[in-house]
Amino acid sequence: MRSLLPILTVVTVLVALWYVAAIGMNSKWANDQATRAGVELSTSDLVADTWSQDRPRLPAPHQVAAELWKTTGAMVLQGKAMSKRSLIFHGWITLSATMLGFIIGTSAGILLAVGIVHSRAMDMSVMPWAIASQTIPILAIAPMIIVVLNSIGMQGLIPKAMISAYLSFFPVVVGMVKGLRSPTSDQLDLLRTYSTNINATFWKLRLPSSMPYLFTSLKIGMAASLVGAIVGELPTGAIRGLGARMLTGSYYGQTIQIWSALFAAAILAAVMVGAIGMIERATLKRMGMGGWVWFSLP
């Protein structure tokens, strides 16, 4: 925790910079309004105005925070947590697609990795493609998946989950192959002297030693899944979900709405990746590998 002070300092500086930038970016509008009304703005009036416009070019942090509270906490207090104006509702839509896709993508990825480690033919055929696919902007196919699945009658959750699954699939394959291969030749030789079969080698040696790699790729996969679900919400006319909030916000110039959706997405990503990190810490600690992953932020 000795790095708490530096972190807080950096965050404070960033927020301060944000306020200054808000003055700079919104002052033109404020000055135009003042000229039209025929009044002269004093510096303090100008600053106050740039931090409280309805549709600022850059909303000030407290405006975003207020909007976030208005669309989450305040709505819960009114008992309307799942209303269509609530970010909890939109966040849940995005989160459910993300989670479904993440589970499909990571399970498929782990299965393929197991196949690759045990079959030379599969390794040599698939692995170069799995690695090459990480250099390709896969996200570009998101609109196509949505529209094609829509034309065969699939809507809502499944198409978005497919994109999420696709995005989290390859990082998990590559990470897990590395992990399942991480036992040293000494360890594998030892098991051979016990004449252990492939099955037991997998469960007793390969799988346990792949755990650190698994959690690292789960974190990458989770972040990728969330991005996939958000982008997957763009092309369908943008009705529900955090991506939809961003798109409607950009259509109608509702900057505060875009920023609050962006922060909701960021908070979601941080919570999910943080949760995986906590499971990682607990698991590795139980397995006696805990020491060195302490304080590995996402």
Binding site: P6, A140, P143, A266, P298
Partner: protein, 281 residues
Amino acid sequence: MGLVFLAIGVWAFGYWLNHKLANGSMRDTRAVKLAVPAIFGITIIVMWELLVRGLEVPSVILPPPSAIAVKFAQSLDILWVDFVQTFVKGALSGYIIGCGSAFIVAILIDRSPFLQQGLLPVGNFIAALPIVGTAPILVMWFGFDWQSKAAVVVAMVFFPMLVNTVQGLAATDQMQRDQIDTWSASYWQALIKLRLPAAMPAVFNGLKIATTLALIGAIVAEFFGSPIKGMGFRISTEVGKLGLDMVWAEITVAALAGSAFYGTVAMIEKGMTFWHPSQRK
């Protein structure tokens, strides 16, 4: 139906061939290592073609590869215009600005351990966030043309690059730093002769991660508004018109551009970090 059985036959043959090659006596030669994934790729494409034709899948769902190839060849001029707009103007300029500024900032904060301790966790944290979400905001600020795409790319590549460079600059060990101190090297001499070269593997790691991010950022930003050219623009409008062969042609361009971009950076890395254990045979 005949074509479907043919597809299954092609799969079985491809599997048999790869199984033979991968477990045969030649399996560690360079030729086999290239041939096996190539056979796999060709098998997939042939099966795709046969299955789409055999099952009569409508081309608005999945066009056959041959149709995509024909469309690709027919619309080279459009694809080139889109490539220039998205890759050269949007992705590449953003990549250079973002990575360049991250590199300079990393060198600046490297002098202050306090800033490092603060910025590294924050940077790591931001690097895991869905930064593509800033696209609508940046499109609003910088207009529809390539400047806004470059800005999204800058936002996406900055923090991964920063974190990697800072970690790279810390890659020297005490012994090496003591050695350079005994030669009474100045800060700048130590930086240029010892720490920057030692940082190169990590720097290139950041540069390689950033290549993919740059292309994704440039394409996705175009979904939020763009002039009437660009890969993301073409994909979203052609999807609306159900011109899926054109969409696949654009995706092919994106895949080729992404791999070529990554490959170029990897080749430069090979030339500059030939001394590092990961590059030795």
